[in-house]
Symmetry: C2
Subunit: 354 residues, 2 copies
């Protein structure tokens, strides 16, 4: 792990804050009905995984702006994990994904619960409905956790503006992402625009801004954090796209080739199509998005992505974005400690495996 | 319309507050991408309908607690319409409903958009994905609209606790509702429990509490509002269940018999099954929840619900709850103006048509 000890310590605090929050909510749910226990089980399992990247960036945005290492910031930052969990649950419904973080996705869990009890009606429909509701609950709770973090209102008021913007951006970015995969003729440029809103801002830039806003950081600092966070966020998503095609399922928590079966029109795919022969392009068009794509089909697509030079172009782009981020960080008006942590996070966010 | 002029005036203010909020958000969405315009169109169409019951109860909870008639309360109360719109959009996905408020449901709108452009992939899947995201956006915006209402933080802090509770209750209540329809052996008692959380608290009791909390109302007032709001909420939902089976589609905005096709295990159905002969019960079990149920099947079910006395028992229950609400209101420590408005709202919420 490339994390410094202060970052591992923070991760533990995030886990504890999440555990405490869910622990406070659970009795209320069970008072409504014992039947809600599977909801608690499902969300607890989901929250046990994850890299806690967004809380880490939020925390270092806070520290970079001179915020003290107090427990309240861990709670406010940890609320981003509930937002992310909500997005994952709904994403998995939309993509009909079977697994998440190496476990069954939430809708599949509830589908199995339905089947196990031989309940009336369609098990898959029940599973999707339960997952939509659990995602809604997690989204509502993310706001609740932020507001009850214990940070004073003047700080929360500044942070809330960033939080609001981030939520709108990620939801709109996800819609654009869906649109990108349904329309023919996507370009590298249009794929990069999706990455910006769906992922770069949401995962790195806005969490940094949130932390800085909570601490009362200057406009100059905010601009510096953008200079570092935005290219790093781009690199992070491009790395994720590469891992989605070439990654080890035991590392990614997703079956090999799932991104290809879902037909995701990533920057990696756009770079490939830009370089493909007509024959290669038509193979990509035929295989990409086929939900029943075989192992052989996955191998064919991987070969085309590598042979066209699409993969190499994507790696070059990742390096360029990562270098841009590091250069901006070197010039940023932050403490030595924050600079070190943000350097570590940059490595973690773009590593070939994690 | 049974509304007093001050209530119609308030409705206008709610409409204006919603219009202003969406108007402030739209440029941000279009800056992310022109492709987001259909999202704005869909949510504007959805928000143009609705009875504005929840904002009205919130407003009269505020007034009952001595709150002044200021624009900020209209904005805070109107945010409940965004929460409700979110719930409706997600509900329609879960129930695969074609229409809402007399218009195509959001997922059907986006399905049509996909089909119209002959985009790649499955149009229905695209429609559902877009609706899940739009529901998420509306949920996030409900919190944002509340927090940016202009009410001072000490008031919002009190209201936030009610808001948080209400969101958790309604999402859990909807899960219990789904569970009720999938499990055999539901009783009148278990159906009433679902109504309590999914509908009675959410539609009436909590909005009243929210308004009262924002105004700094006493515990005594909060208890009085429960005495009025909870039975009225039960009556409201039972009326909605009756209208869902026997209502005029031009009034309900939903095709006749849709609740029967969805297989909703309402209190009305539970009361019917309690009174049914084995033969009638088996017909109900066979027809209820059949998505392709014919007009003739709808008529058969209606006849059984009427003939068993299920309908009459439900009407009796509605009357009993409504009377309980009125009795509590008569004894509540509220001004004459609030009492009059809450009397009107009780009539509106339980009227045979609206």
């Amino acid at each position: 792990m490339p994390f410094s000890s202060s970052t591992s310590q923070f991760r533990k605090e995030v886990d504890e804050a999440l555990h405490a929050f869910v622990g406070r909510q659970a009795p209320g749910l069970l008072a409504i009905g014992e039947d809600l226990r599977p909801m608690i089980t499902a969300l607890t399992a989901l929250l046990s995984g994850g890299k806690r990247l967004r809380p880490a960036f939020c925390y270092w945005g806070w520290r970079a702006a001179g915020g003290e290492d107090v427990p309240e910031i861990a709670t406010a930052a940890a609320s981003l994990e509930l937002l992310q969990a909500s997005a994952l649950v709904h994403d998995d419904v939309m993509d009909a994904s079977d697994t998440r973080r190496g476990q069954p996705s939430v809708h599949r869990r509830f589908e199995a619960l339905h089947a196990e009890h031989a309940w009336r009606g369609d098990a898959a429909t029940f599973g999707e409905g339960a997952a939509i509701l659990l995602g809604d609950l997690l989204l509502a709770w993310s706001g609740e956790m932020f507001e009850t973090s214990g940070l004073p209102e003047d700080r929360r008021a500044r942070g809330r503006r960033v939080y609001d913007l981030m939520r709108t951006e990620v939801m709109c970015g996800q819609y654009l992402d869906m649109l990108e995969s349904t329309r023919a003729g996507g370009t590298v440029e249009s794929a990069l625009r999706v990455v910006d809103f769906k992922s770069a801002k949401y995962t790195i830039e806005r969490p940094l801004h949130l932390g800085a806003a909570l601490a009362g950081g200057s406009d100059e600092l905010t601009a510096s954090l953008t200079g570092y966070g935005r290219p790093l966020g781009m690199a992070f998503q491009l790395r994720d796209d590469v891992l989605g095609v070439f990654g080890d399922p035991s590392e990614t928590g997703k079956p090999a080739g799932d991104d290809l079966r879902e037909g995701k029109r990533t920057v990696l795919i756009a770079l490939t199509l830009e370089r493909a022969t007509p024959e290669q392009a038509s193979t990509v068009d035929r295989l990409l998005g086929d939900p029943d794509l075989s192992e052989l089909g996955v191998t064919d697509l991987r070969e085309i992505i590598a042979e066209t030079g699409g993969l190499a172009a994507c790696e070059t782009m990742i390096d360029r974005f990562a270098t841009e981020a590091r250069t901006a960080l070197a010039a940023a008006p932050v403490t030595g400690e924050a600079r070190e942590a943000l350097t570590d996070l940059a490595t973690a966010a773009t590593a070939r495996t994690f």
